[in-house]
């Protein structure tokens, strides 16, 4: 074992009486990538900030952090400031708040350069342009004079990385660097991080909740739970033979893009509140729990670099079980065959005017949020609607739910055209279509007890009181909560439970179509698995149809029967999940699929990745011809004659073969 560059031993962080980090040991060697993975509240970000001494004064930091043998904990701020940025640099999650909005990007990078190495302004500026070029920002000279808000999220994160590597640091700390980004942009930024690491030879500490990102980037992984490292191992070893039941559950809880891995494994319960547990903090959720787990917290032990904090680690190492062999997996009854069509959307269009002026508003442009969307859902079927931010997924949903005449196109719900609905028709459709929102905290009235929240759609439908009283306990039980929970308020529940309440509310009036707007993206993976399993069970039991909107392709793959891919307000590809995921026809779909990281380091390394160039264009511009052509990897390789067609003609959705349920809107699919 070579000497460590950064050595963290027995690091503790307490906020008042609440311990956030409880004795973390980490070692980072020169040039390697250490992934720290954990769910929210596990202490991974606090650990990263503690290394840099960036925690607020209220935090009491104990233990030791050594950089090349030099102790950093307790160092005065002035000394630390010399190390920050020059030897250890940080890439934050939200690059918009990490840049000062009123200074130009160039000035901020120049400042970072000149603070640590006094040099002329012109020289620093030249170096800054080089750095921007290195991280793949086009026209770096011009970009230097841009303000942070003029950059897109991906560009800002690149600039952030450029600033971090400005002084050739020994260690790059990246705290959830891609969490706020779309998958194709995430792939670009991860690629830039790899480049940056290669150019500077720095060690990379990558903090993430995403097992896929970790699997693709890290050499070694530390899994954190409740403020401690519970397992650490080389990446292949960790994913192939996890020794801690938590790691095992986490791996089983992630839906996989390649469709392997069987049913999702929900880890029951939620992480304990900090400072409340004696013994192993995972004991309450662990399927392998024994009496001795509850008395003493196991130490992090093991051999050949694979350490785990579990008394039964040896057993798990020897047996190497699959997650579903250890965790109880609720049986998901097989879904029935899809029935008749209940929703058909054709050529839906929605535009928003761009207005300027305060007193006299004049229209200066148009946002084509939805620009020709086709959807169809049959009873008992799940349609996944996939797209990156700005692709018009949410606008499509809200147009559906508005139950009015669309700007253009046609929406047929349960055989009724929404353009000509009377009062009774609207009322009936308001019952038949229910929605579950992304953020379960925002979508439940904080001042209403859960019973009233669930009763709301019933009251809106003027259901008799006796029926409402009968239905509430039934619904709560159906989503895995207790009838006694009806008199509690939303803030007394965890995120996963709140989403279950949301689902119960939507189910109250026995809808036929459930619209799910990113229902699990605000949840941690272990909780997400439970909610996804619940959705699958409900669908099978109640014969519901789902319109499932998500940016997470793995979730769609796991749950949906059919999938529809959106780009810039257009439906670019649609078909059954198997056909779209196994043999994508549209270049965008192919790029999207290749950008999704797999939680499997071996498979992840074997993949070839299609990196898309640039960002999606602004929906205010409406490119002629194919909306995707500016970023298209196929278009770039075509000869001029064939390119002209992409530039002039809008591609229409065409089936792969007559009668096959697999459409793609591309002139040269399968090319």
């Amino acid at each position: 074992m070579s000497a460590s560059l950064l050595e963290v031993s027995d690091l503790t962080v307490d906020f008042g009486a609440v311990p956030a980090v409880r004795g973390v040991d980490l070692a980072v060697r020169r040039g390697e990538t250490l992934g720290i993975v954990g769910e929210s509240g596990s202490g991974k970000s606090v650990t990263a900030l503690a290394v840099l001494g960036l925690l607020p004064r209220a935090a009491a930091v104990g233990g030791s952090v050594r950089l090349d043998g030099r102790e950093l904990v307790g160092l005065p701020d002035k000394e630390l400031a010399r190390i920050r940025g020059s030897r250890i640099a940080m890439v934050f999650q939200d690059p918009l708040s990490a840049f000062t909005p009123v200074y130009r990007i160039g000035d901020q990078i120049v400042e970072a350069l000149r603070i640590h190495r006094p040099q002329g302004r012109a020289a620093a500026r030249r170096r800054a342009a080089e750095l921007l070029d290195l991280v793949g920002i086009p026209a770096p000279e011009r970009a230097l004079d841009s303000f942070p808000h003029e950059f897109s999220g991906g560009m800002r994160q690149r600039a952030m990385i450029a600033m971090a590597i400005a002084n050739d640091p020994d260690i790059l700390l990246a705290d959830e660097p891609t969490t706020a980004l779309d998958v194709t942009i995430q792939a670009q930024v991860l690629d830039v991080l790899r480049t940056a690491q290669r150019e500077t030879g720095a060690a990379l500490v990558l903090v993430s909740h995403d097992l896929g990102v970790i699997a693709g980037m890290a050499d070694r992984v530390a899994v954190m739970y409740a403020g401690r490292v519970v397992e650490t191992a080389p990446v292949d070893e960790l994913f192939a033979r996890p020794r801690h039941p938590y790691t095992l559950g986490l791996i089983g809880a992630v839906p996989r893009l390649d469709g392997r891995g069987g049913p999702l494994v929900p880890i029951p319960g939620t992480p304990p509140a900090p400072g409340t547990v004696t013994g192993c903090p995972f004991a309450a959720r662990c399927p392998l729990v024994e009496d001795r787990c509850r008395t003493a917290e196991p130490a992090l032990t093991g051999d050949d670099g694979h350490l785990a904090a579990c008394v039964r680690a040896g057993e798990l190492a020897a047996r190497a079980p699959r997650p579903e062999e250890v965790y109880p997996v609720p049986p998901v009854p097989p879904a029935g065959r899809p029935g008749e069509e209940i929703l058909r959307v054709t050529g839906l269009v929605k535009t928003f005017p761009v207005l300027k002026g305060t007193v006299f508003k004049r229209r200066v442009g148009t946002v084509h949020a939805v620009d020709g969307v086709d959807l169809a859902i049959r009873r008992g079927e799940t349609l996944g609607l996939v797209g990156e931010s700005g692709s018009g997924k949410s606008t499509t949903l809200y147009e559906l739910l508005a139950l009015t005449r669309p700007e253009a196109g046609r929406i047929d719900l349960l055989g009724r055209d929404t353009a000509g609905l009377d009062r009774a028709g609207t009322r009936e459709l308001r019952r038949a279509v229910q929605i579950v929102f992304q953020d379960p905290m925002a979508s439940l009235d904080p001042r209403m007890p859960v019973g009233d929240i669930i009763a709301e759609p019933l009251r809106a439908q003027a259901a008799p009181r006796a029926q409402i009283d009968r239905r509430i306990p039934q619904l709560l039980r159906q989503v895995g909560l207790e009838p006694a929970h009806a008199s509690r308020y939303p803030h007394q529940f965890s995120g996963g439970q709140r989403q279950r309440i949301s689902i119960a509310r939507a189910l109250a009036v026995e809808p036929e179509l459930l619209v799910l707007d990113e229902p699990v993206s605000a949840l941690d993976v272990s909780i997400q698995a439970g909610v996804l399993n619940l959705l699958q069970r409900l669908k099978a039991e109640l014969g519901l149809a789902y319109l499932f909107v998500s940016h997470d392709l793995s979730v769609i793959r796991h749950l949906a029967d059919r999938v529809s891919v959106m780009y810039l307000g257009h439906t670019v590809e649609a078909g059954t999940v198997e056909s779209v995921f196994e043999s994508p026809r549209h270049p965008y779909t192919r790029a999207l699929l290749s950008a999704v990281p797999l939680p499997d380091p071996v498979a992840e390394r074997a993949r070839t990745r299609i990196l898309l160039a640039g960002d999606p264009p602004s929906p205010r511009e409406r490119p002629s011809g194919c909306p995707f052509r500016a970023r298209c990897q196929v278009h770039a390789l075509l000869d001029d004659a064939r390119r002209a067609r992409c530039e002039q003609e809008v591609p229409l959705p065409q089936a792969a073969a007559p009668g096959v349920d697999h459409l793609a809107a591309c002139h040269y699919p399968d090319a």
């Binding site: 929900p266 029951p268 319960g269 109880p328 609720p330 739910l401 609207t426 009322r427 308001r430 019952r431 279509v433 229910q434 929605i435 929102f437 953020d439 925002a442 979508s443 439940l444 009235d445 904080p446 001042r447 209403m448 007890p449 019973g451 009233d452 009763a455 709301e456 759609p457 009251r459 809106a460 439908q461 009283d469 509430i472 306990p473 039934q474 039980r477 159906q478 895995g480 909560l481 207790e482 009838p483 009806a486 008199s487 509690r488 308020y489 803030h491 007394q492 996963g496 439970q497 279950r500 509310r505 009036v509 439970g530 399993n533 619940l534 069970r537 039991e541």
Partner: protein, 300 residues
Amino acid sequence: MTAVLDTAPAEPKSPAAPGRGRLVLTRLLAARGATAGAVIVLLLFLLAFAGPYLTPWDYATPNYTAIRQPPSAEHWFGTNGIGQDVFAQTVRGLQKSLVIGLLVALLSTLLAGLVGACAGYFGGWADRALMFLVDLLLIFPSFLIIAIVSPKLKGAGWLAFVLLLALFNWMITARVVRSMTLSLREREFVRAARYMGVAPFRIILRHILPNVSSFLIIDATVTVGGAVMSETALSYFGFGVRPPDVSLGTLLAAGTDQAPVFPWLFYFAAGLLVLFVLAINLIGDGLRDALDPTSDRSTP
């Protein structure tokens, strides 16, 4: 969480879960401050309406043989410059002020909540029209209008006076409620209710108003004291409550300059007013905590 899976329950008849109204009431009753406040207000009402029967003296009849007497067994709160019994006057004034304070606060807060929430929720023309009305009333010199109108209302009595006071007291609150509603309207739970087909006015009543209730309650408790005092100002100029009738406000106005020498003319009325406002504040705090589920750690 996944253990309970049976969906066809042969469940025992479980009692229906208490709704929001019941929960808030239980929480309100459990709050000691609110109960104390309510008891004080009740006692004040009792004093105000039973008080006149306890004393042989009339609030209006002067008694020139007993001028500016300090409190004694005969005149409990003493007498004033023309020998009227201060206790009789105070309880008579308390009757007026209790009713005026409570009604004005209730009416103006209700009006402010409704107008503000409607303007914010509906937006567009409704918003513009309502806000025009608010601005119009704000720039009207309310004092002048009340002064002009109140002689005409002489026959209508104090209820008309209450209406007038309430009418000129709600505008700023309504503006605040409107801006709070504008942000609430975009919250997902409101949107969810809309997509469920809940009628707009029901959304305002069930979602918007409870979520601005903390502000409204604080505002209402402040208004109670304010209404009593503004009634004073009007009475001082001869509008509103006219002599020989009295209110706490007129008593205070009359007693202020004599307070150092003849404290009983001022401090009894002032003490009762302070007690009243304090009690209202206690009730308001209790109500606010009862409506806000995050206000305490203990669950009901």
